[in-house]
Symmetry: C2
Subunit: 205 residues, 2 copies
């Protein structure tokens, strides 16, 4: 049973959610709402489960503790980015390979990822702990991309800078992904952010 | 009273420490040793104070809790980097300004900073929490540098990449700073790491 939540920023048409959330997605969305509303420390697993209309034991089928909700998707996203980088043609420059990674990640994003973007932003703005969790997530993504570039024999300094550019492009593009528009894709936002960063590189010297 | 510690990786000549640690520095060094030896979670403020030959209340004169030991110096270092960036000549490119920041930070580093470098590395290798603490510290330093570059009217994308390069240069150079050599300065290590990164930028496209 999915109970309609009055504080939801996700809108429903005729009582139907725009995407059909599974239990895990409901837990993530409700956890982010609670973190934004009352803080990370004050939020319990029981409250998250209750708001999602689920039990504590269902929560623990998906997550060890509330902290895990924060880093949800980090491994998947890191793997998508690394896989895309690995699959880029051998002739690709480091930044072209990074773009291949971003494109792979964008292709795997669902309406759920789009809808939680503003929830994530609101939660992070309200909580220092969440800000730190996000910084760790970004560091993990950068490390995954730098490793994937290393496997392409990109020298370490170039791999690390290219990976940082990849993280900046992903976070910037993801923030601009508009949850109000059903038809909107992530890829063009990532591409625009990536191109801004790529041309900025030439002005650094 | 400074008690000699059998697990110390800091060496003493004739029983005298190479640098004259003040209470705060002793607390940082002993905390890092304990984190490496027995883990961050298992280490208490009382243990840190005891090993440093100080009281709990002395610890709390310098730090709120053991977590604060990790991020010790972050504000100071961020300010040094930002001040150096701000003081660079108006004609400086973004990367030249970043170098001015690194140079300012290097000039402020003391033998204490050199001696704790391997302690920090050992502690971080042993603990996931410390790794995360360090990633947050780096994100904070990057933010401080990007802001300082923004005040120089460097556009945001370029400022963020230049700041990430600054963090990579600092962390790489700092890791190479040899605590076994009394006469060694940090600046040449930062310069070498910075130049590696700067030339890598041209191979990214």
């Amino acid at each position: 049973m999915y109970t309609r939540c009055v504080t939801c920023r996700i809108t429903y048409d005729g009582g139907m959610p725009r995407w059909k959330p599974d239990a895990r997605q409901r837990l993530v969305a409700e956890a982010l709402r609670l973190f934004a509303e009352q803080g990370y420390d004050a939020t319990t697993v029981s409250q998250i489960a209750e708001r999602a209309g689920l039990t504590r034991s269902t929560f623990h089928r998906y997550f060890g503790d509330k902290r895990d909700v924060l880093t949800a998707g980090r491994e998947t996203l890191g793997r998508l980015l690394a896989d895309g980088i690995g699959a880029a043609p051998p002739s690709a420059t480091p930044l072209e390979a990074v773009w291949a990674g971003l494109e792979r990640a964008a292709a795997a994003m669902t309406p759920f990822n789009r809808e939680i973007s503003p929830l994530m932003r609101a939660a992070v703005e309200a909580n220092r702990e969440l800000q730190e969790g996000l910084e760790q997530k970004h560091a993990g993504l950068a490390a995954a991309m730098a490793e994937a570039l290393g496997r392409r024999r990109v020298p370490r300094p170039a791999a690390r800078i290219a990976a940082e550019i990849g993280v900046l492009a992903f976070t910037t593009g993801y923030q601009r992904w508009n949850p109000e528009r059903d038809d909107e894709e992530l890829a063009p936002h990532l591409r625009a952010a990536f191109e801004e960063l790529r041309s900025a590189v030439t002005d650094l010297r």
